[in-house]
């Protein structure tokens, strides 16, 4: 489209590219904003049902589905207050920083094979990295508000998020290690076929890892019982105590964006991403979606997209369920949970998965036959051949890249 505008209409190229980038960016923005509208509505409904009441019922008909929009309009029309002692510039910009971090990580999140904003081959890493930047928005908001409650919230958030990145990273490394790639699209496609191919069922260690991951993800996006940065019974509203109107809603959008993101990431890493529990697309089209083309590819991808969104939304729902059930931990208990429980467990799981792989024990994918003779059967480390020429590989093998399928792969390399 850019090329068309330049060559046929003779537009000034930098302008065209800027416009195109802005167009794409606003599309993602709409997805996130729309997503958080749905999630906030969902949260109210879920909370209502959990608490034996109905939740919103009036605005927009029977299910109150316009309630969030109405609230959004109310928020838009609210006065944008700024405390007198606040650092004006930082106070204004902090919500956007938090939002941009949550928003930026969506760039690398694939929704189905090939349907991704930017196909980075270190996507897992990128998503976690950008999501981690959300902490700056919170810290700045807390500092700039010139309120002690906000400062408390900010300091808690900083301590908590930094701590939880360690076990979160360890948990993420495990599926990455099994897959042998950091490319989320590839990790997703490697789990195609029956649900036993999901890394959740890869071996007992990954099964536990998933729950550790979920706990850490919960903590890193500040959801109950780890929502200490905004603990309303202690810190009034924590870091966003002084915010009102639209700026406040940006924090909210960031929160719901991150919630979706971590559960989407979890579903790609452990729950097979866009692959359903049964290989439906493969039955219909005879091939896995990643190998299809044209209309069949789109159709299979739409199926996959639905499965993916379903899983991610399920993850978000469980987060809501947890929030409305459990009391809040204390900050020292949160940090203890991180360093005394999550980190050691994740480390043990890491070693466990390595041993499982090295010993060549059967994994989940062996229980039900894999549909395609695709890449899953290849050993992780050698799947992407690091060098085009085979001469470097003997040394690679000599440093311990052995696996059950090493023979086969080496044969290919030699040939």
């Amino acid at each position: 489209m850019s090329q068309y505008l330049i060559s046929h209409w003779g537009w000034y190229p930098p302008l065209v590219y800027t416009l195109m980038a802005m167009l794409a960016a606003s599309l993602v923005l709409l997805v996130i904003a729309g997503g958080s509208v749905v999630f906030i509505w969902m949260e109210r409904k879920v909370a209502g049902r959990i608490q034996d009441r109905l939740g919103p019922t009036r605005v927009g008909g029977k299910f109150g589905w316009l309630q969030t929009i109405a609230d959004g309009i109310k928020l838009l029309s609210k006065e944008d207050l700024r405390p007198e002692g606040a650092d004006a510039m930082l106070f204004r910009i902090a919500p956007y920083v938090a939002f941009c971090a949550s928003y930026g990580s969506f760039i690398a999140l694939p929704f189905a094979t090939g349907w991704v904003g930017l196909d980075i081959n270190v996507a897992v890493f990128f998503v976690v990295a950008v999501l981690g930047l959300e902490v700056f928005g919170v810290i700045l908001a807390g500092y700039a508000s010139a309120s002690k409650w906000s400062l408390f919230g900010a300091m808690r958030e900083a301590a908590q998020v930094i701590s939880y990145e360690v076990p979160l990273g360890l948990c993420i490394v495990i599926p990455v290690m099994i897959a042998g790639t950091m490319d989320l699209t590839k990790i997703g496609n490697l789990q195609s076929g029956w649900f036993t191919n999901w890394y959740l069922f890869h071996d007992p260690f990954t099964f536990i890892t998933f729950f550790v991951y979920y706990t850490c993800a919960l903590a890193s996006v500040n959801r109950a019982p780890f929502d200490l940065a905004e603990a309303e019974s202690e810190l009034v509203a924590g870091f966003h105590t002084e915010y009102s109107g639209l700026r406040w809603s940006f924090f909210f959008m960031a929160e719901y964006g991150s919630m979706f993101l971590v559960s989407a990431l979890g579903s790609i890493l452990f729950l097979g991403g866009w692959n359903g529990p049964v290989p439906v697309a493969a039955w219909i089209f005879g091939e896995h979606a990643s190998q299809l083309s044209g209309f069949a590819f789109v159709l299979a991808n739409v199926l996959g997209l639905m499965a993916f969104i379903l899983k991610a939304v399920l993850g978000v729902t469980v987060m809501m369920w947890i929030r409305w059930t459990l009391p809040r931990l204390r900050i020292d208990q949160v940090i203890t949970t991180c360093w005394k429980y999550c980190t050691p467990i994740a480390a043990v799981m890491f070693v466990g998965v390595i041993s499982w792989q090295l010993m060549g024990l059967p994994n989940g994918g062996d229980v039900l036959p894999h549909h395609e003779q695709g890449s899953r059967r290849l050993p992780g480390s050698l799947r992407e051949r690091p060098f085009e020429t085979g001469d470097a590989l003997p040394s690679a093998n000599s440093v311990g890249f052995e696996s059950e399928h090493g023979e086969q792969e080496r044969g290919q390399v030699d040939g």
């Binding site: 510039m89 081959n121 930047l133 700056f136 500092y143």
Partner: protein, 213 residues
């Protein structure tokens, strides 16, 4: 350089260029903002933005692993630490420490000289050779002057490089890697030790008596 400034290049102003300009200008702007801002909290904020924009430049240069590392370690780790430090010491008299005018003049002078040295060097080194025949790899260069930021997997090769497996464009770095690992450990211990100042403070103990009874 004039001979390269033809219509041929205009067509190659593309998304890559626009993004480069975006990130490059952001980087320069926020770096300068760090210098000219007096408030230490804002300086930290500008630094965060400058380094985040730098990681964008890394991505554009095809070094996506390094770019992500920059985000994780530098922006997400080091700078959070720095902001922590800023907030721990951010008492009113120290938030904005003014620099004397004389210092500014000297610094500007030194900085200007440095810039005057560096920029021409950048032009000399960075430019492609004028004479196409001079260098053997020219055709290859033409090929790699790519128009779109193509994602090339670098992480695997970097990882192997760090494990000491040399490849065709990477050397083995096992020893430096190990040294840095040890270094990090030493630094961690050292920092933890250093930060523990021996300040003695008296607190009342009633509550513990109560707890014990």
């Amino acid at each position: 350089m004039g001979n390269r400034n033809g219509g041929r290049w205009m067509g190659e102003i593309n998304g890559h260029t626009v993004l480069f300009l975006f990130f490059g200008i952001l980087t320069c702007l926020f770096s300068l903002a760090v210098v000219f801002s007096a408030n230490v909290v804002r300086m930290a904020f500008y630094l965060i933005l400058a380094l985040a924009a730098t990681s964008g430049l890394h991505f554009l240069a095809g070094a996506d692993f390094v770019g992500t590392m920059q985000l994780v370690l530098y922006v997400g780790g080091t700078l959070v630490l720095l902001v922590f430090g800023v907030m721990l010491t951010a008492q009113n008299p120290f938030i904005s420490l003014r620099t004397a005018g004389g210092d500014w003049i000297v610094a500007a002078l030194v900085g200007g000289i440095l810039l005057v040295i560096l920029v021409p060097v950048a032009f000399q080194i960075g430019l492609p050779p004028q004479d196409a025949g001079d260098i053997e790899g020219l055709t290859q260069r033409e090929a790699v002057a790519s128009s779109e930021p193509v994602s090339v997997p670098t992480a695997t090769r970097i990882g192997l490089g760090l494990l000491g497996v040399p490849g065709d464009d990477v050397s083995g770095y096992l020893l430096p890697f190990e040294i840095i690992s040890i270094h990090l450990l030493v630094v961690l211990v050292g920092a933890a030790y250093l930060a523990r100042a021996k300040r003695k403070v008296v607190v009342r103990q009633e509550s513990q008596n109560i707890a014990g009874s």
